[in-house]
Assembly symmetry: C2
Homo-oligomer: 549 residues x 2
């Protein structure tokens, strides 16, 4: 590869002059701008490449000594990086929560980078700070529906905060539980609060053995991470079984009371509004009441499902969310904003002061610097993309998108149920569902002896893994897989296909093709063929699946 | 404003069709692409607007019901947001660490958004995962200079990690101290580690009263935030005085030993490589030795100054950084990458396993999913912009940029020292310096009675605030201000101008103009005029500055 000359003149050009119109990078950009789908279908190679092969292209640990020409570097990116990326916007890639984006995000993202604001403080963000506050206010209003007077008082108040932008749902959940911890273990009678004096002093002052977080087993892994980070320990994250996929309020009450009786305190109940695995929504309204009875914080992780509030058709599924002390919503999921737009909202605008901080050159007292109550420091202006989306799509636009996703999930569920060789494992509450391949004669497994059921499930678990992998590697479509315990299978843990119907460009035909492809792959597996050829009476199956076939 | 029709057809167009070439948004983008500086100078209004006035444009807490046309929305953005943003790339805005960006980041950022990968797991990132690992490896090699064999073994190992990308230096510092805490309070003899069993159990198991973090008072505010978040408490962040702007290793040893003797344990010493306020570098080599003596973790916060390692001319200033257990470097500072590119590096690739986590549908054991050892969950592919910068600028390009910044800071220091009415407060070690206005006859204040010195300093502190604010509001240029204790002023806390010479487009003439403008503003202040007209013998000054003039 030829090298650019190292000189200040060259660097000056890099900082001040765009690439020529006929340069590789300019052409890439033009292609992206004119037809993103075409650009991706041309450049993202769908053929199988092992990760090990790709790694070979990214294995040198040395920083190149000499500059490369931009266009030559752009060729390398196309060849080695773009070609082996994931086409997240493809209508047939329905296995993850990252979906297609509206076109306007491309030029707006460029504007964002061109402005390169830093939202940590007014000095480097100016109008972006009120814009971010307003955006948080709009989402706060969507969740909590407070009065105009309420927002007039708090939206731009230097001493209050309706929430925080952050890179994603994980940081949002951690922030919520951090605020909760510091609020519950606050300063009193000579004790200066957990933030100041630490957890040991706090437990001593409040005479508690441990702080606990209660959620279902479907709670996001960021909750365990929060328990670790905040010092309360993962074993104090009490994850309750949920064979019906939602948290049982009575069980929470029982477990919570028992926990308290042992000298502990419940920090928070976390209700999930749209679990990552199955899209189920915990009974938020009842959980809010239990939180009151246990005298603890109530957090709702609506990273995925929070956007359902845009739909007047479906928002009742989230009834009770307005009782939550804090709520997480990711705009980069069902709000179709590029990656990196998490939000946490606080019902009470005073609560965020539990984590307030100041510094000399920044975040001075009385300032409106957003950094004084965020976990992160320097941050970019992603709020602009959320703000723009709210305006360009409008509540009704979002409603249409949400309604369509839920409808499409229903359609897919029907396709699966009508199909002899597929079994719907969890029906969609929102737009996520799980299913698996299962021979038609096995429609009702309950009559089989338990050992046989276990053996069959193990066989089917393996099959699901194989089919999911091979389908992904074939590159035409992508569904993900997960493992969940399911009531109708005696609380066994099953490996299942998981789909997320979020892409507005996905059609019913795409879904039919995906099932067909899965069946084709399965028909090439001898375990599957063996199972299909059996029936209840002939089935000879050891618990040891290795002996099959 | 006219409203777009709400229909799936309309939404389908929003997702699949770019704006017409003659639309407002397309024109904005073209202007950005062809001449960013011109776009900003035309659209960022420099006239004074109070924050309260700007807030009026961002005060509605309601999500618009109906969609807006993209072009009409783009007009609003230009008018209300862009016009009141901060021109961070202007050569005369030398008050913050956010600077001009090389042009190639504009089209590359668009590519990044178009690809919309999620780096939390391979499934949604594929080649971006090895690319991020390689980028971390290159920066690791820059810091630690390990052998090719070392990187061959660890760069792509599923069970190891050379570091983590994160949104910024704050999350990087928190991650480093989280790993340090979990490593030091690790599982042993029935205790399952602090992450699992919590801080109380850990202190009990290891028989310690408290964990402490030692840094100078110049340590970044994220260290206090980490102490709060991790449960050790801000009062266990021991911030030592540093009248010479750097941490004194002997003082650290003394304070650390005393802390340990009281039944505590030192978690970490944090050395700063480029303080935010003055750009000073702590004596890393000696601090590393003290960390050994105190048997604790050694973290280097090189968010700002870490990039000095690119320069063979100046990298010796950071001598000893290679002994650090962990190092923070922000690519969005002196690496000229857009906001949102923090990194933490770990000397020992095993250490990050102290915070490892798994989940069912993601981060499975043995996977190379990056999310298993990061504080954040879903993240975008910012690593690509760092990777591209390393290639397009090369080590030598970065060296030129770093050398030029340090040289320019030296030039500015000379300008200030030659000027009768300015006082250099801290000379630049890297490319940050502080200074203030001070009448020429006050060159040596030490002969004055202490009360008079205090009164004068209070007067000058006020003046600095006024001049800094008025200069910012005038909109032509921007320097920031901070408060630091200074040895040559008997450890008094002074308010000073702070400049960061990072923009390669800033000229000596720009710097002369900035001083001239500050003097002009000062000459309009009666306090300043009063002071200038005095001399040592005539000065009548009460400690109460309100009586002056």
């Amino acid at each position: 590869m030829s090298k650019a000359t190292v000189s200040m003149e060259h660097l000056y050009r890099v900082f001040t002059q765009p690439e020529n119109d006929d340069s590789t990078l300019a052409k890439i950009e033009k292609h992206l701008s004119n037809n993103l789908a075409d650009f991706l279908s041309q450049h993202v190679v769908t053929k199988k490449s092992s990760l090990e092969d790709i790694e070979k292209d990214f294995s040198l640990p040395f920083i190149p000594e000499h500059p490369e020409f931009v266009s030559e570097h752009a060729e390398v990116l196309l060849d080695k990086l773009v070609s082996h990326s994931v086409n997240t916007s493809s209508p047939t890639f329905i296995g993850h929560m990252t979906s297609a984006l509206p076109y306007f995000h491309l030029p707006l993202s460029k504007l964002l980078v061109g402005l390169n604001q830093n939202l940590v403080k007014i000095e480097t963000s100016k109008a972006f700070t009120p814009l971010e506050r307003q955006t948080l206010g709009m989402i706060h209003q969507l969740v909590y529906e407070q009065s105009s007077e309420f927002y007039h008082e708090y939206l731009h108040s230097a001493n209050h905060s309706l929430g925080a932008f952050c890179s994603g749902g994980t940081v949002a959940n951690i922030t919520a539980l951090w605020v909760a911890r510091n609020h519950i273990l606050k300063a009193a009678d000579g004790f200066r609060g957990v933030g100041q004096d630490g957890l040991i002093a706090a437990y001593r002052h409040y005479d508690i053995q441990n702080l606990g977080i209660i959620s279902s087993r479907r709670g996001h892994y960021s909750l365990g991470k929060a328990a670790d980070l905040l010092g309360i320990g993962r074993r104090n994250h009490l994850t309750l079984p949920c064979p019906q996929q939602t948290l049982d309020p009575e069980l929470v009450l029982t477990v919570g009371r028992r926990y308290i009786e042992s000298g502990n305190k419940v920090l928070a109940i976390v209700g999930v509004a749209g679990t990552t695995e199955t899209g189920h929504v915990d009974p938020l309204d009842e959980l809010a009441d239990v939180a009151k009875q246990l005298d603890c914080w109530f957090h709702v992780d609506g990273a995925w499902g929070g956007a359902t509030l845009f739909s007047s058709t479906h928002r009742s599924i989230l009834k009770g969310i307005e009782k939550a002390d804090s709520v997480t919503i990711d705009a980069h999921k069902q709000m179709y904003v590029p990656m990196g737009a998490g939000m946490v909202l606080f019902k009470d605008p005073h609560h965020s002061s539990a984590v307030k901080q100041h510094a000399q050159y920044i975040l001075r007292k009385g300032s409106k610097d957003l950094g004084s109550t965020t976990l992160e420091g320097s941050r970019n202006g992603m709020a602009m993309l959320v703000y723009s989306s709210l305006h360009i799509l409008g509540r009704r636009g979002y409603q249409l998108l949400i309604d369509r996703s839920i409808e499409l999930a229903g359609t897919f569920a029907s396709l699966i149920e009508k199909h002899d060789e597929f079994e719907l494992i969890t029906a969609p509450k929102l737009s996520i569902l799980t299913y698996r391949l299962r021979p038609s004669w096995l429609q009702d497994m309950s009559e089989l002896p338990t050992a046989k059921q276990i053996a069959i499930n193990e066989l089917l678990n393996e099959l699901t893994v194989t089919v999911q992998k091979q389908q992904r590697e074939a590159g035409k479509s992508f569904v993900s897989r997960t493992r969940i315990e399911v009531e109708q299978h005696k609380n066994c843990v099953l490996t299942v296909f998981r789909v997320v119907l979020a892409n507005p460009l996905t059609t019913e035909k795409d879904l039919e093709n995906i099932l067909e492809e899965q069946l084709e792959i399965a028909n090439l597996q001898r375990n599957w063929r063996y199972l299909v050829e059996q029936n209840k009476n002939t089935l000879q199956l050891n618990a040891n699946i290795d002996t099959v076939g």
